[in-house]
């Protein structure tokens, strides 16, 4: 993973979120307050602008800047959560314009840990965690299985992560929310797909797309 790929990932994610913003908002209308797509779109649009205007020398700096931008521009629950995750990812990476797939994987997990520390959600609570955790696990498993050298390893691991995120996302449908706004609905949250888990899938899918050879 180098600076160009890092930027390409976030750009691809911004495109996907812009394209799916309406869908994310509709999901949030059912069990939340109809703003998740708007929030994510505002945030990733700002990330795109910030990255276009800056020339971060290291991969880590790209993610730290992106994370800080999300924290500064989004608000709501998703802003601090995704922002902290990206910041932790950025800060956990070794300095330099390129990091290997294993370090990047460890960084993704550091991001997850930061998000979980901040939000306190456990798997099964019907949140971002339900897509993010299986994605990171799948990434690691793929790396262990196929080896992580070169971009080929990263691409395969990212593909596995995106697929696991999608499964995790779909698995939120039958869950009753225990965290975030959807928890106020009690049993009425059952039967709806979690908006945050959905945006998480979009982000991992964007990684897979950007990393595809």
């Amino acid at each position: 993973m180098d600076v160009a790929l890092a930027k390409a990932w976030l750009d691809t994610a911004a495109d996907a979120i812009a394209a799916q913003a309406d869908q994310l908002t509709t999901l949030d209308a059912a069990i939340g307050d109809s703003d998740h797509g708007v929030n994510m779109n505002r945030g990733f649009g700002a990330v795109r602008t910030a990255l276009a205007g800056a020339a971060p020398g290291g991969v880590g700096a790209v993610f730290t800047l992106a994370g800080s931008t999300l924290v500064s521009k989004v608000g709501g629950a998703s802003g601090p959560l995704y922002g902290s995750a990206l910041r932790a990812l950025g800060k956990s990476l070794p300095e330099g314009p390129e990091v290997d797939a294993a370090a990047f994987g460890a960084g993704l997990r550091a991001g997850l840990d930061a998000l979980r520390k901040l939000g306190g959600a456990a798997p099964g609570d019907k949140t971002i965690v339900d897509a993010y955790l299986p994605a990171v696990d799948a990434y690691d498993a793929a790396l262990r299985q196929h080896g992580g050298d070169g971009d080929g390893g990263l691409a395969a691991a990212a593909r596995a992560a995106a697929q696991a995120a999608a499964e995790g996302m779909r698995a939120t449908v039958p869950l009753q929310a225990r965290k975030g706004r959807a928890s106020y609905l009690g049993e009425r949250s059952i039967g709806h797909q979690d908006p945050g888990a959905t945006s998480t899938w979009l982000i991992f899918q964007a990684l897979a797309d950007a990393a595809a050879p």
């Binding site: 608000g75 629950a77 106020y184 009425r188």
Partner: protein
């Protein structure tokens, strides 16, 4: 969607332009998106800061001024403000005695205010916090993110604001705010959904004979859906839920907020208030003070919330203290 707006993305900003034009007593910083009392910071006075998503007007910006908030941080519609805003507000109002955050208990608000508190601490500003979670429609359980903050927020802002005006330190003001919150319970019922400018369509659909029971103030669906009932039955059900969660004994005083969610006409709020007043009287509870009107709203949602705060002489004294803000004013 039919609204008096120019573009969904510009609503919050353009409303702040209007707020600034209407209230020269307020300093509206469009860059930072904060609303600050014109005379802030005042040396030695604790600065009261609140904020949250927009769409609940007049809360919070309408409560900035003498005897209430020193600053408000309006986020996008139904989206909590970002830490930068809250930090900017802290810098604008800290007169050396630190600041108190009044935070409604939503995941986003809690996290953003928490991050801001850390940033403010880094800048040497003492931060105390009051977490408001008065909505008893939500049970506080492992199944929820805790109770939501709704109508009691303005009671906390008024009473803590009066105490700050008296010169109390940040810890004292925050402790008092927490006490008001603990003494307060709210419950809301909607007759219609609301429409955020960005979404452009209602958050849910409701039949012509249905009401949404136990709603929050962000257009989300409520705890359950029921057949619409006469005002008297609705009042009975609402008050039972409130008093079951936070009893007020016969002979005790209460401050009551009969609040409209935005699109319900005042004539209905007064009618409802009459029902509540009758029920509370039967229960022997003395309504020492009350407000009837639209204070903590949810855009164009038709609905109401009731907040009952068990009061004591200190709370009543602070309630009566002078206040001069766009939306609440007396004694001055």
């Amino acid at each position: 969607m039919k609204k008096f707006i120019n573009h969904p993305d510009a609503v919050v900003r353009e409303a702040l332009v209007g707020l600034a034009a209407a209230h020269p007593d307020l300093r509206v910083d469009l860059e930072q998106q904060i609303v600050v009392s014109a005379d802030a910071p005042r040396a030695g006075k604790v600065g009261l800061i609140s904020g949250g998503g927009s769409g609940h007007e007049p809360m919070h910006a309408g409560f900035v001024g003498l005897g209430m908030l020193d600053a408000a941080c309006p986020g996008e519609v139904f989206t909590s403000p970002v830490p930068d805003q809250i930090l900017a507000a802290a810098k604008a109002v800290d007169g050396g005695a630190g600041v108190v955050h009044i935070v409604k208990n939503y995941t986003g608000d809690v996290m953003n205010f928490q991050m801001a508190a850390e940033l403010s601490g880094d800048e040497g500003i003492e931060v105390q916090s009051v977490l408001v979670d008065d909505d008893v429609a939500v049970e506080d359980s492992t199944w929820t993110a805790g109770r939501r903050g709704t109508g009691a927020t303005m009671l906390v802002e008024k009473i803590a604001g009066a105490r700050a005006e008296e010169g109390a330190d940040a810890a004292t003001v925050a402790a008092l705010g927490t006490r008001v919150n603990e003494a307060s319970a709210s419950f809301a019922i909607a007759l219609s959904p609301c429409t955020t400018p960005a979404a452009g369509r209602p958050g849910f659909e409701l039949g012509e004979d249905e009401m949404e029971v136990g709603v929050g103030i962000h257009g989300e669906p409520g705890r359950r859906r029921e057949k619409l009932r006469p005002a008297r039955e609705i009042a009975t059900m609402t008050l039972e839920a409130i008093l079951a969660a936070k009893p007020v004994a016969a002979g005790e005083d209460a401050i009551v907020l009969m609040n409209g969610l935005g699109a319900t006409p005042l004539i209905e709020l007064y009618l409802l208030y009459g029902e509540f007043a009758g029920l509370l009287e039967s229960a022997g509870v003395r309504i020492a003070r009350c407000l009837v009107g639209n204070y903590v709203t949810s855009l164009d949602m038709a609905g109401m919330s009731l907040t009952v705060c068990r009061a004591d002489p200190e709370l009543l004294r602070l309630w009566d203290a002078p206040v001069r803000t766009p939306a609440l004013r007396w004694g001055v």
